[in-house]
Every structure is written in structure tokens, then in C-alpha cells.
Subunit: 320 residues, 2 copies
């Protein structure tokens, strides 16, 4: 089968590509071609695989030519991130809304299965309509960021194109993924990786929120598992065309640091400095921290068991 990953050179795209190439199959069919569309070229190890083709450039400009090809499966991961979208409304509308719509139109009428990475950021509340403490599959998203609004709009378009039979779309809402390797990105949630990654690397990190802040997290491994289960599920198992909330591990930022201390010692933990950032604190407090992800559980997905296992997964991968 021929698979497309948009955002295929990003952190999750690269990891998904490596996973697909190493599994070699999806739903029992061999992955014979893997096309990675991104602004940046793919990682060297990925690019060197004979099954991989890179399409480098702005996705919006590529949608028409990609639509001229036949894919058996599309993972649509490309996105501008939360802080970018908050800083520049037009950038977010173009990168997230217009690009997704152009991609859907490119594949329109093919019935192509398309897995869309939506986000926990669709959830929120305001003074009049506070967010429930536990998010269920039928909780009303009340996004409080432009990023969340744009993701939620894309979910709606994908549901409608799917209802009309133009696509077979599946939206999954990703939790905050940690620990991300590499350099910080412009996501407001970036500190949830950097407060672990930088200390493990001998560097200082800044935590912009109080230690008692509740967060909903998932490891890279579980996140990729969620995307693959969405791609492989039968229509009956998948069910509603509304988005599926992936499972989340709920904990406090202080508990993340406790796990860091257990894994790497007190001196490592002490490399984290607290300096509150009101903008990030406000955004994070507005995001949900507890989920009852019944649909995800029925699909066989479960949250990471604890944060220590996430830290150790990261340490092992960095060492290996």
C-alpha cells in the first residue's frame, strides 16, 4: 500500500514513518511506498529507505499534485502549532484550515482513509460555560485558542466529507506528547518536554507554570499507537465520525519532576528553575487534564502507566 504522511519530517511524522517502515505493513498489507510531505526534508535514516519518497515544500502548494496520486492511506499531521497560531491568526488559518481543506479537496471522491491529528486543545471553557473536570467523548469543545478552533473546524470538515462518502476520515485528538527530543518548538506546551529533556542533558530549563498544575500527557510511543489504531480500525470498530480523544495520563507538573528525580537524581531535578509565564499559565490552565476516553479504550488503547516509564523510555531511546 501507498501511504502519505503530511508533516512527515516533524517529530511525530518521523517517528510514525520509522514505525511504519519497521512494521512493514498496515491492516495486513505491506507498506510499499511511503510519501513524506513537509517543509523540511525527512531524517536521513528515513530518506535512505527505498520505500520512501520526500515531497519538500509548503503543503498548501502540494495539495493539488498530491491529489493527483492515489494513496491507500493518509496521515495528516502537518500543522502550525499553538503559540504560532495565537501570535498570527492568518498564519494559523492558512496553515491549518486552508491547507486541510485543500488536502481534503485533493482526495475528494476517492473514499481515501485519512487519519487527522487533532488536539486536546479543542477543549476549554469560559466564565459562563466552565470546562467539566473530566472530559468525555461527548463533551462540547469550547476552544480558547485559535489553534484549538482551527483543529475543531478541521474535524467538522472531515466528518462532513466522510458522511458524504468523499473520504473515510478519522480524527484523533492527541494529548500533549512528551518527552519530545531535540529543540523546543513554538507550542505553548513545549516546556512539558524541556523540563525533562534539558536537565537530562545537563542544561537548565524554565518551568513557566506552578508545580501543582494538572496536565494530560502521552508518550510518543502511545501517541503513534493511537494513530496506527485509527488507521487500522474497521468502520464498525471506529464508530462515530466525531473525533476520538486518545487516552491521557493525568498528573501534576511536580509529579513529573519527582519522576525525573527518581530516574536521574536530585541534581538533575534541580536544573529546573521556576519563572511563571502568565500567557502560558493561562493557556495551560484552560486545557483539560482528565479524560474518560471510552471510545479509545474500546479500540484497545490505554494511557501510559506512569510518568517514570515515559522518562525511562526517553532515556533509553536517547542512549540507543
Amino acid at each position: 500500500m501507498k501511504v502519505l504522511i503530511t508533516g512527515g519530517a516533524g517529530f511525530l511524522g518521523t517517528r510514525l514513518a520509522r514505525t511504519l517502515l519497521s512494521r512493514g505493513h498496515l491492516s495486513g498489507h505491506p507498506v510499499t511506498q511511503l510519501v513524506l510531505a513537509d517543509l523540511a526534508p525527512p531524517a536521513t535514516d528515513v530518506a535512505s529507505d527505498g520505500r520512501v519518497q520526500a515531497r519538500t515544500g509548503a503543503l498548501l502548494d502540494q495539495c493539488k499534485s498530491l491529489g493527483g496520486e492515489t494513496f491507500d492511506l493518509v496521515f495528516h499531521l502537518a500543522s502550525a502549532v499553538s503559540a504560532e497560531c495565537e501570535a498570527d491568526l492568518d498564519l494559523g488559518l492558512r496553515s491549518n484550515l486552508d491547507t486541510t481543506r485543500a488536502l481534503l479537496d485533493g482526495f475528494r471522491s476517492r473514499g481515501t482513509r485519512l487519519v487527522f491529528s487533532s488536539s486536546v486543545a479543542v477543549f476549554g471553557g469560559d466564565d459562563d460555560l466552565p470546562m467539566p473536570r473530566v472530559i468525555h467523548d461527548d463533551t462540547l469543545p469550547v476552544p480558547q485558542t485559535s489553534y484549538g478552533i482551527q483543529k475543531f473546524i478541521c474535524e467538522q470538515l472531515i466528518a462532513d466529507y466522510s458522511r458524504r462518502g468523499l473520504l473515510d476520515g478519522r480524527s484523533v485528538r492527541l494529548m500533549t506528547v512528551t518527552v519530545r527530543p531535540g529543540r523546543p518548538n513554538a507550542a505553548a506546551s513545549g516546556f512539558l518536554s524541556s523540563i525533562i529533556r534539558e536537565p537530562l542533558n545537563g542544561q537548565e530549563a524554565v518551568c513557566p507554570v506552578p508545580t501543582n498544575t494538572l496536565v494530560a500527557l502521552a508518550s510518543p510511543q502511545r501517541t503513534i499507537e493511537g494513530l496506527i489504531v485509527a488507521a487500522e480500525a474497521t468502520a464498525d470498530a471506529w464508530g462515530s465520525r466525531t473525533a476520538v480523544n486518545l487516552p491521557a495520563l493525568t498528573l501534576r507538573v511536580g509529579e513529573m519532576l519527582d519522576a525525573l528525580e527518581i530516574a536521574a537524581g536530585r541534581a538533575t531535578r534541580d536544573r529546573v528553575r521556576f519563572q511563571q509565564d502568565p500567557t502560558i499559565s493561562r493557556m495551560m490552565l484552560g486545557w483539560p487534564a482528565a479524560f474518560e476516553s471510552a471510545r479509545a479504550r474500546r479500540l484497545g488503547l490505554s494511557p501510559d502507566p506512569d510518568f517514570l516509564s515515559i522518562v525511562r523510555q526517553y532515556q533509553k531511546e536517547q542512549a540507543g
Copy 2:
């Protein structure tokens, strides 16, 4: 104050224009200019008022020039209707989504108050996520028509532009409005007017759904009242940036015909013939019929007391 009504020559737009001209004020300020944008010219009586200016043409083409003017208030009612959007996805995306976005961008950064007519059609359910029997203000919309999807997307854009302070947007979800005068339109719900209007006019009408079908209705008068209350409410009274469900009178189609018989006699009722239309039945059964509209009630709005009063309101207006 200078007021814009998009769809200002449509049924609701014309009625809203007449109401504003006759009241003469909004929030205590005199309505000095009323601009009506529509594909069609305004009704003669409206156009002859010295305060009225018509802007005739496709709204999408007018958004830029309208954005060059300063309005104190915008009612955005222009829309392609449900059956059109179901028949032609691109027409709906252009008329509803692209046009609304262009209008919002036209007024961006002015903080202009904008009342958007969304629709009960945002609600729905599927096999996996059935619609609750009673819709509350925080019920998750799961639209099952392209029209409902497009209205829900516009609500999201308006909420985000408002959160960012670019606009002061207020989305109200209109119930099915009946009795509409004139000729049938392409809305799937059109029969809810024609089964009353045509018999009263001595003509036959076709009812495409069974008599036990539950529907949620509002008179033209109450609907206009809802739009005006949305325009006049203080920010505190309005509350959440999510849409407000207007109040609805819940009843069965058979009860509508009982009211017709009380108002106009058995012979009039007998002009309604039953011929089931599977497409319309399916769409109608997918729409909600009962609402607990707490926010609307707090704003002082209430449903019509009964359907007989709606029939008599229509008879009186046709006579007068």
C-alpha cells in the same frame, strides 16, 4: 446608528428590517442608516424608507467594500439553505463558510457587534453517539448535514475572532421558522410552512413526514425578537461566546394540523396530502425536537405558547 443586514431581502431579513425601521432604535440609539445586502433588491416598502440603502449582488463580492464602511451593528443572515448545501457541497462552502469568513475579515479589528444566525441544524447524532432527547446549551453538536457543519464552523470562527477582540460576535441558533409567507424555498424544512400556508390559501400541500414527527418551531415574531435581544444584550448578560439556542415550541406535525383545523376548518386541513419523502424524513428525524434553552430564558426569551397562536399570527398578517 448604522446597521447592516446581510440577506436583507430574504424573509427574515425583510422582517428584521421592517421591525428595526418601525422601532426606530436599538439599545437606545436611533437607527439612522440601514444597509441591506442581498442578491435581490429589498422589498418596495423597505426600500422606500429614507434610512435604507440597498447593496445588491453576491455577498462574497461585497465583503471588501462593506468592510470599508463603519457599521455599529451587523446582522449576518445571508446563507445558502439546507437542501442546496446537501445537493452541492461547494456552493455551501462558498456561500456559508467562505462568505462568512470574508465578512469577518472585512470587519476585523473594529470590534463590531455581529449577530450571526446559526441553526438548530447543527444538532444531530449517529449510531454511535445518539442525539440526546433534550438539547441543552452545552450539548455537543454532531451535525449530519453539510449546512449544519458549515453553520457550526462559522460559530467557531466568530467565537475565535471575538475572543481575540477583533469582533463582538454573537451566534444564535434559530429554530425552524414557521409560518413563512410566499413560495417554498429549498430548505428541507420548507413543508413546515407549506402545510399551513398553502391550505389557508385554498391550495393543496404535501406533507413528506408522518404526523407523529416531533419538530421544534418558532414564529417569525419570536425569531426576530431573539435576533434583537442578541444585538442589545450587554456583554455580561450574553455570557459565553458559544452559540445560544433560541427557545422552541416542541410539538408533533399532527398537532400543527389540529391547530390549522381549529383556525380554518376541516376542509382546510384536508388539503394536506401525505406522501413520504425518505430524504426529508431522514433529515428531519435527525434534527432535535426538544430544548432546554436556559441561556435564552435568562435573556428574557420564551417559546411561542402554542401553534394555534402561530397560525393566527400568520392569518392576521396576511389579512392586514
